[in-house]
C-alpha cells in the first residue's frame, strides 16, 4: 500500500475542489468528517471474457499524476500539506500528520487494483463479500450472470452476438470505513444485493447491464486515448455520468446514503429498488439507533399504543408507489394520535396483526413513531435531547406553523412534567384548546417531548433484625414470580408472515387478567385465590402486607394480590389499566393505600423511549 501514498498527496487538492461542487446538497459537517454510517465510495466491477474491469466508481478520482508534478503541487499555496505541519487541534492532542480523509483512503486504490480485488471468482457469487484493507472495508454481493448462450438476444440489439464481450459476473461494492458498525455493513450488503437482483433481472430480460457496461468501457477507452495524446489527466467517470443511466443510479444511491439514508432507484426506468439505512433515519441526540434495538422495540408494541405519523397524511400518501398495499393506504388515512392500535384496527377494518406489521414498517422507514395515545392524563416533559436553541430551524418552523408563539416559551412549560389537562388551562386564555393539542403533536413529532409513566415496585421494609448481609435484599419479587408473559405476538418481524396462534389479543384482556375471581364477598374460593397469589412472597413480606390497615378490607387485598405480578417496575399504570380493565383512579387509590410496601417511580417508557433517546 505504500506505493499509493504518493498519489494521495497529489490528488488531495483536486479532490477537495471537486468535493465542494459535488456535495453541495449536504454541507453538514458530519459528511466531511467521515461519518461512520456513510459509505466512502460505490464501485461497479465485472468479470468476464475480457478479464476484470472496473466499470464505474463514485466519487471520482483524478487519474494519478506522475511523480514530477507532485513537487509542483506541493509548492502550490493551496495544496494541502499532509506531512509535517502540526495543525491547530482544539483538543490539543497533536498528531504528526493529518489523517487521510475517507475519499483519500479509497482514492489510493487505482482502478486496476480495485478491479482485481473486487471482481471475485464465480464460486464466491451469491454470497456476502467483505474485504478489509487497512482502513477501508469493501462490502458487496457478487452476482453470477447466466451463461451467455442461454440469454435471449434482444431483437432490438443490433450488435451480433459473437462480438459482445461476455460478462460472467458483476458486483456493486460499497467502500466503508473499516470501523463501521457491523449492522451498517450488513445493511450495505443488503442494498448491494437488492441492486444486484434488479440488475440481474434486467440483464436477463434485455441485456441492460451488458449495454451499460459497453457504454462505460467505451468512454473509458476514449478518455484513455485522449489522455495519451493530450497529456491532460481527466476522470473518465465524469464523462460516463451523462451517458449512462446506471452510473447516475449508482451516484444517486451513494448520495442518498450519505444524506437522507433513503434510497429509491429505478433501474432501467423499470424496476424499483428501495432501501433505507436505519442508522441515518433514526438518529437522536447525535447517535444512531441500532437496528437490533429498533427491532426489539417494535416487537414490544402493545395494542394500547398509538401510531403518530411524522408527515402529513397527504405527503405520506404521495410518497407511496402506485402498487402499494391498499391496507397501508387505509391505515394512513385512519391513523390518529388519539387512537390506539386496537381502535385503529377496528376503524381501518384490518386485523391487529396486520396493523402491527404495517406500523412496524412505517416506523422502520422513519415515517411514524410509536407513542401512547394522547389523552388528558398524559404527562410530558422536555426531552434531554431536544434542541432548544433560539435559532434552530425547529424554532423557526414552529413560529411559521403557529404564528404568534415561540417554541422556547412553549418548551419552557414542559421543564417540569406537565399533564395535558394542566397544559390546556394556560394562563393565556387566548390560545385555543385544539391548537394546544396540535402544538403538543408537533413537538412529539420532532422528538422534543418525552412522556412519563408511573411504575410501581414492591419493596417491603426489611425486618429489624438483620442476620446476614444480603438476606434483606434477597431476590426481589421480580426473580421469584415466574411472570406471565404479557407481550404482543413475539413472531413479529419485518415482512415475514407470523403464526396466528400468537394472536390472542383482540379485546382488552379478559383472557390476560387474573379477574377470574368471583365478585363480592369473602367467599372461601376468593380467600384461597388471594392466598395462592400471595404465596410467592416470603413470610415476612406477607406479614407486613397483611398488617397494613388497607389489607383488612378483603376487596382491597384481593385487588392487590391480583395485581402483584405487575409490581416489579416493568409495567406502567396505563398498561395495568388496559390489561385489567381498570380505571386510573382505582389504581391510584390502591397505590396510595399500600404505599408503605410500594415504591412509585416515574420515568419514560423504555420500550418506546427508544425513539426519543439513543441507547448507549
Amino acid at each position: 500500500m505504500r506505493r499509493y501514498n504518493m498519489y494521495i498527496s497529489s490528488t488531495s487538492f483536486e479532490l477537495q475542489g471537486e468535493r465542494k461542487s459535488m456535495y453541495k446538497q449536504s454541507e453538514n459537517s458530519s459528511y466531511k468528517s467521515g461519518e461512520k454510517t456513510s459509505p466512502i465510495s460505490v464501485i461497479l466491477v465485472t468479470s468476464g471474457s475480457r478479464g476484470n474491469k472496473l466499470l464505474f466508481r463514485y466519487p471520482f478520482q483524478r487519474v494519478a499524476d506522475c511523480t514530477s508534478s507532485l513537487t509542483k503541487k506541493q509548492r502550490s499555496p493551496y495544496a494541502l500539506n499532509t506531512t509535517g505541519d502540526v495543525l491547530e487541534d482544539p483538543d490539543g492532542d497533536s498528531r504528526e500528520q493529518t489523517p487521510l480523509t475517507d475519499e483519500q483512503l479509497v482514492a489510493g486504490f487505482s482502478d486496476i487494483i480495485l478491479a482485481t480485488i473486487l471482481a471475485t471468482k464465480s464460486d464466491m457469487c451469491g454470497k456476502k463479500f467483505e474485504l478489509k484493507i487497512d482502513n477501508v472495508r469493501f462490502v458487496g454481493h457478487p452476482t453470477l450472470l447466466q451463461h451467455p448462450h442461454t440469454i435471449q438476444v434482444s431483437k432490438t440489439d443490433p450488435s451480433p452476438k459473437r462480438e459482445m464481450p461476455t460478462m460472467i459476473l458483476f458486483s456493486v461494492v460499497f467502500a466503508l470505513r473499516a470501523n463501521a458498525d457491523p449492522s451498517v455493513i450488513s445493511c450495505m450488503h443488503n442494498l448491494s444485493r437488492r441492486i444486484a437482483i434488479a440488475l440481474q433481472h434486467e440483464e436477463r430480460r434485455c441485456q441492460y447491464l451488458t449495454r451499460e457496461a459497453k457504454l462505460m468501457l467505451a468512454v473509458q477507452d476514449e478518455v484513455t486515448t485522449m489522455t495519451e495524446t493530450d497529456g491532460s489527466p481527466q476522470s473518465p467517470f465524469r464523462q460516463i455520468l451523462p451517458k449512462c443511466k446506471l452510473a447516475r443510479d449508482l451516484k444517486e444511491a451513494y448520495d442518498s446514503l450519505c444524506t437522507t439514508g433513503v434510497v429509491r432507484l429505478h433501474i432501467n426506468n423499470w424496476l424499483e429498488v428501495s432501501f433505507c439505512l436505519p442508522h441515518k433515519i433514526h438518529r437522536v441526540g447525535g447517535n444512531h439507533v441500532h437496528p437490533e434495538a429498533l427491532e426489539r422495540s417494535l416487537k414490544a408494541i402493545r395494542p394500547y399504543h398509538a401510531l403518530l405519523l411524522l408527515d402529513s397524511e397527504k405527503a405520506l400518501l404521495a410518497q407511496l408507489p402506485l402498487d402499494c398495499s391498499p391496507a397501508l393506504v387505509r391505515l394512513i388515512k385512519t391513523c390518529s394520535a388519539v387512537k390506539n392500535l386496537q381502535q385503529l384496527a377496528q376503524d381501518a377494518d384490518l386485523n391487529l396483526l396486520q396493523i402491527f406489521q404495517i406500523a412496524a414498517h412505517l416506523v422502520y422507514w422513519g415515517k411514524a413513531i410509536i407513542v401512547y395515545p394522547l389523552c388528558e392524563n398524559n404527562v410530558y416533559m422536555l426531552s434531554p435531547h431536544a434542541n432548544i436553541s433560539l435559532y434552530s430551524p425547529l424554532a423557526e418552523g414552529f413560529s411559521q406553523q403557529f404564528p404568534g408563539h415561540d417554541l422556547p416559551s412553549m418548551l419552557a412549560n414542559f421543564s417540569l412534567p406537565l399533564s395535558l389537562s394542566e397544559f390546556r388551562n394556560p394562563l393565556d386564555a387566548s390560545v385555543q384548546e385544539a391548537q394546544l393539542i396540535q402544538m403538543v403533536v408537533w413537538m412529539l413529532q420532532r422528538r422534543l417531548l418525552i412522556q412519563l409513566h408511573t411504575y410501581a415496585c414492591l419493596l417491603v421494609p426489611p425486618s429489624e433484625e438483620e442476620p446476614g448481609l444480603l438476606r434483606d435484599e434477597e431476590l426481589p419479587l421480580v426473580t421469584r414470580v415466574g411472570g406471565r408473559s404479557l407481550s404482543t405476538p413475539s413472531a413479529l418481524s419485518f415482512g415475514s408472515p407470523t403464526s396466528s396462534d400468537d394472536m390472542t389479543l383482540t379485546s382488552p384482556s379478559m383472557e390476560n387478567s387474573s379477574a377470574e375471581l368471583l365478585p363480592g364477598g369473602d367467599s372461601p374460593l376468593n380467600k384461597r385465590m388471594t392466598e395462592t397469589l400471595l404465596a410467592c412472597l416470603t413470610e415476612h413480606e406477607r406479614q407486613v402486607i397483611l398488617n397494613i390497615p388497607a389489607a383488612q378490607s378483603p376487596e382491597d387485598l384481593r385487588m392487590f394480590a391480583r395485581l402483584l405480578h405487575y409490581f416489579r417496575g416493568h409495567h406502567h399504570l396505563e398498561e395495568i389499566m388496559y390489561n385489567e380493565n381498570m380505571r386510573r383512579s382505582q389504581l391510584k387509590t390502591l397505590f396510595d393505600k399500600f404505599r408503605s410496601v410500594l415504591v412509585v417511580i416515574n420515568h419514560e417508557d423504555p420500550v418506546i423511549s427508544l425513539f426519543q433517546s439513543p441507547l448507549e
Binding site: G92, S383, I388, S409, D472, P476, S609
Partner: protein, 297 residues
C-alpha cells in the same frame, strides 16, 4: 502484494472487526524478500496462516518467526469508541478503586493529577490545584476516559436537580448492581444501607426536587447513606440524570443585540465557567430579568 482474507469471520465475528496491529515490520515487507516465490518457504505459508488464526482468536496476540531474520508480531487491538470532549466543568470519577492502578505506568501529567481526581473536583479546579495547564489536564483525563478508567459526572451541588431514567430499574433486577450500589453509597462506618431506602431515595429525585429537598424529605432513609456518593453512583451507572437550566433571552425589542450566551444552547454551569460568575450570582441576575425564560432538560 499479498492479502490475508478475513477467514476469521467464520470463527468469531468480533475478531475480524478489530484492526490487527502490526507491531514490528509490516506483513508484506517481511514477505517481500522472496518468501512467497521461493518454493520451499511457500509450503510454510499454510501452517503460518493457521497458527496466526488460532493464536489471534485465542489470546489476541501472536509472535511467529518465519525464517532466521524475520518475525511477525501481531496484536488485536480492542476497538474503543471515541471519547467525548472533556469540558472544564466536567468531574472525572474513577470507575474502579484508585489503588488498582500502578501510578508509574501512566505519563507524568496523569501522575501529577491523579491525586486530585476525587469525583468532586472538576477539571478547572484540578488544573488550578495541581498546577497543571488546563489543556493538559483535559487531554490526560480524556485519555483516562478512553480507557474506561474514569467516567465524567457533573459538579455536585445541593441545588442540583436530578431525575430517574428507566435504568434505575436495574437496581431491582440486577443483583450485582444492587450489591455494588449498596456498598458504594453506605456511609463510612455505618451498617450497610438497605435496598428499599436507597431505591426510595433515587425515586425521590424528581424534576423540581433539589438534593437539598431530598435530604430534608428523606432524612430517615439517609441515615446510612452518603448523599454525595448516592448521586455519584446514580450518575455513573446512568440510573439518574442531571437536569440543567438553559436560559433564553426572548427579545421583544428589535433593536437590542442578539443574545450571545442566553440562547438555549448553554447551561448555567457552562455560562458560569465561561464568565467566571458563581452559580448564585448568575441565578440572581437571571431571576430578576423579565426577558429571560428558563428551560430545564
Amino acid at each position: 502484494m499479498m492479502m490475508l482474507s478475513s477467514d476469521c469471520q467464520t470463527i468469531t465475528s468480533k475478531a475480524c472487526r478489530q484492526p490487527v496491529h502490526i507491531t514490528q515490520g509490516r506483513l508484506n515487507d517481511g514477505l517481500e524478500s522472496g518468501f512467497i516465490s521461493n518454493e520451499e518457504s511457500k509450503q510454510k505459508l499454510l501452517p503460518i496462516m493457521s497458527t496466526l488464526l488460532e493464536e489471534l482468536n485465542a489470546t489476541g496476540a501472536c509472535t511467529l518467526p518465519i525464517d532466521e531474520s524475520n518475525t511477525i508480531n501481531l496484536k488485536l487491538i480492542e476497538q474503543r469508541r471515541d471519547p467525548l470532549t472533556v469540558q472544564e466543568y466536567n468531574v472525572p470519577v474513577f470507575t474502579q478503586c484508585k489503588d488498582h492502578f500502578i501510578k508509574s505506568q501512566w505519563d507524568l501529567t496523569t501522575q501529577q493529577i491523579l491525586a486530585y481526581i476525587d469525583g468532586f473536583r472538576h477539571i478547572q479546579k484540578i488544573s488550578a490545584e495541581a498546577d497543571v495547564e488546563l489543556n493538559l489536564v483535559r487531554i490526560a483525563v480524556q485519555n483516562l476516559l478512553y480507557y474506561g478508567v474514569v467516567t465524567l459526572v457533573s459538579i455536585f451541588q445541593y441545588s442540583n436537580v436530578y431525575c430517574t431514567t428507566p435504568k434505575v430499574q436495574s437496581l431491582i433486577d440486577d443483583r450485582s448492581i444492587q450489591a455494588e450500589c449498596l456498598s458504594y453509597v453506605t456511609k463510612h462506618g455505618q451498617k450497610r444501607a438497605r435496598l428499599r431506602d436507597v431505591f426510595q431515595l433515587y425515586c425521590g429525585l424528581t424534576p423540581g426536587t433539589t438534593v437539598c429537598d431530598l435530604c430534608s424529605r428523606y432524612s430517615q432513609q439517609l441515615q446510612r447513606v452518603d448523599e454525595r456518593r448516592l448521586i455519584h453512583y446514580g450518575l455513573m451507572k446512568a440510573l439518574i440524570r442531571l437536569l440543567q437550566k438553559y436560559p433564553f433571552k426572548v427579545t421583544r425589542d428589535e433593536r437590542s443585540r442578539p443574545p450571545r450566551l442566553y440562547t438555549g444552547c448553554h447551561s448555567y454551569v457552562e455560562i458560569c465557567c465561561k464568565t467566571g460568575m458563581s452559580y448564585k450570582e448568575l441565578d440572581e441576575r437571571l431571576e430578576n430579568d423579565p426577558n429571560i425564560i428558563v428551560c430545564w432538560k
